[in-house]
Amino acid sequence: MHTLWHMACSGLAMKKALVLALAAVAVSFGGESPSQASDHIDGLKTAIDNAADLTDLYTFTSPENADKLVLVMNVHPIASRNSRFSNAVDYVFRIRPIDDAKTLKPSADTKREQTIVCSFSGGIPFVDANQHATCAFNLGGAPENLRFETRKGGFGAGGTGAQNGIRVFAGVRSDSWFLDLAKVIKFNNGMTVPKGPGANGLHGQNVLSIVVEIDKSRLAAPLLAVAAQTIRK
């Protein structure tokens, strides 16, 4: 393990580890890598930094309450029950108002940006996936922090917190992305793709998810630009 750590700390070994890992993943998926999927494993850095590899972003009016907006960030492809958020990464929802519906350009004024920054601590790799989550809401006015545990609240592999009309979940969820990987590779290469049913190349896979539900009244405008970002500290 010590020798492996030294290997892992060299750039060359990182590439070797990546090639081995990708090869293993490719074999696992019968030759198609999930790196052709949505945002999964879409670069060398994200292939190595799995816990900071974003896979999908969703945003929609809550089906439970039309006055609330939901933001979902999925990260860490091929997650398992014991997968953890990185303790060294900030997981950020960034929101900017769009003033002109004709141009759809987000405001260039950085002071008008609102952020929700979730960070994690604790947990032990492979042994204890329970982490202390802190989500900092910078929506204008005084910043607000929501803290919770990621293995609490009756979920098999997740936890929630709630305060002041905000709900947050963080934990392992079924990967919500779906596609026939072999067909997408053919589409990408301009090849003819047979019609008919396909097979979901991510069937049975999991991701780590952060789900935030927040009052729409706390957001800067009705028309918004929303992005998810991971930043290693």
Binding site: D49, A51, P125, A157, R173, F178, A227
Partner: protein
């Protein structure tokens, strides 16, 4: 398959879980809970538009995206301030390739310029919280952008919902143009129309993990 997957997970987890310190002290591995890789700090990734890197930006689709050297710089950018000049030509070239897939030219020059300018400079979803979002029957992904490109007013919340087939929306948008819709007689599809388990209309919406 499970053994290979486990092997990949172990390899990636060991690399990610045991960080590298700047010091050359050989006495012991660093604190495992630090999760520091040592090689990478700062921005790592951003996500919003589906398949933005893996389909629309990748330059060599026969090679796995992690090996395309354009993707890391794009992913490391500020999603609200990407250096468009570095990527716009590639987005335009790839869009032309996708548009030619059905042997018809569906994208106008003006639409191409607007869309490639947008995605080369930023990666974000557009959501209108004042418009309807039908979670049970979602057809909102890219609706706002398509309305803009075709000179119409948008009618839905846009954004993105987990049960919508965003891959089919993307295929038809790129290959049949912004005026095309999923559900048309000549729609293009990969034939997969839902995830392992559909998301529910109850918080936290995404389905419970598989293999719990």
């Amino acid at each position: 398959m499970k053994t290979s997957l486990l092997g990949a997970l172990v390899l990636l987890s060991v690399v990610a879980g045991f960080g590298c310190q700047a010091s050359s002290d050989d006495s012991a591995p660093p604190e495992a809970s630090e999760d520091k890789l040592g090689l990478v700090t700062g921005r790592v990734d951003h996500a919003a538009i589906v398949e933005l890197t893996t389909m629309m930006l990748v330059r060599t689709p026969t090679i796995a995206p992690p090996l395309d050297s354009a993707l890391d710089p794009f992913n490391e950018s500020d999603p609200f301030h990407i250096n468009a000049g570095s990527f716009k030509d590639t987005f335009a070239t790839n869009l032309g390739k996708f548009d030619a897939y059905d042997e018809k030219t569906d994208w106008t020059e003006a639409q191409t310029a607007t869309w490639t300018s947008r995605i080369a400079a930023g990666n974000y979803l557009v959501v209108d919280t004042s418009k309807p979002c039908d979670f049970a029957n979602p057809h909102t992904y890219l609706e706002i952008e398509r309305a803009q490109l075709t000179g119409k007013d948008h009618e839905t919340c846009g954004g993105r919902m987990p049960n919508e087939d965003a891959l089919d929306v993307t295929l038809n948008f790129l290959m049949r143009g912004p005026a095309a819709s999923v559900g048309d007689d000549d729609m293009i599809t990969d034939g997969v129309n839902q995830a392992t388990t559909r998301s529910a209309a109850k918080f936290p919406f995404l389905a419970e993990m598989n293999g719990l």
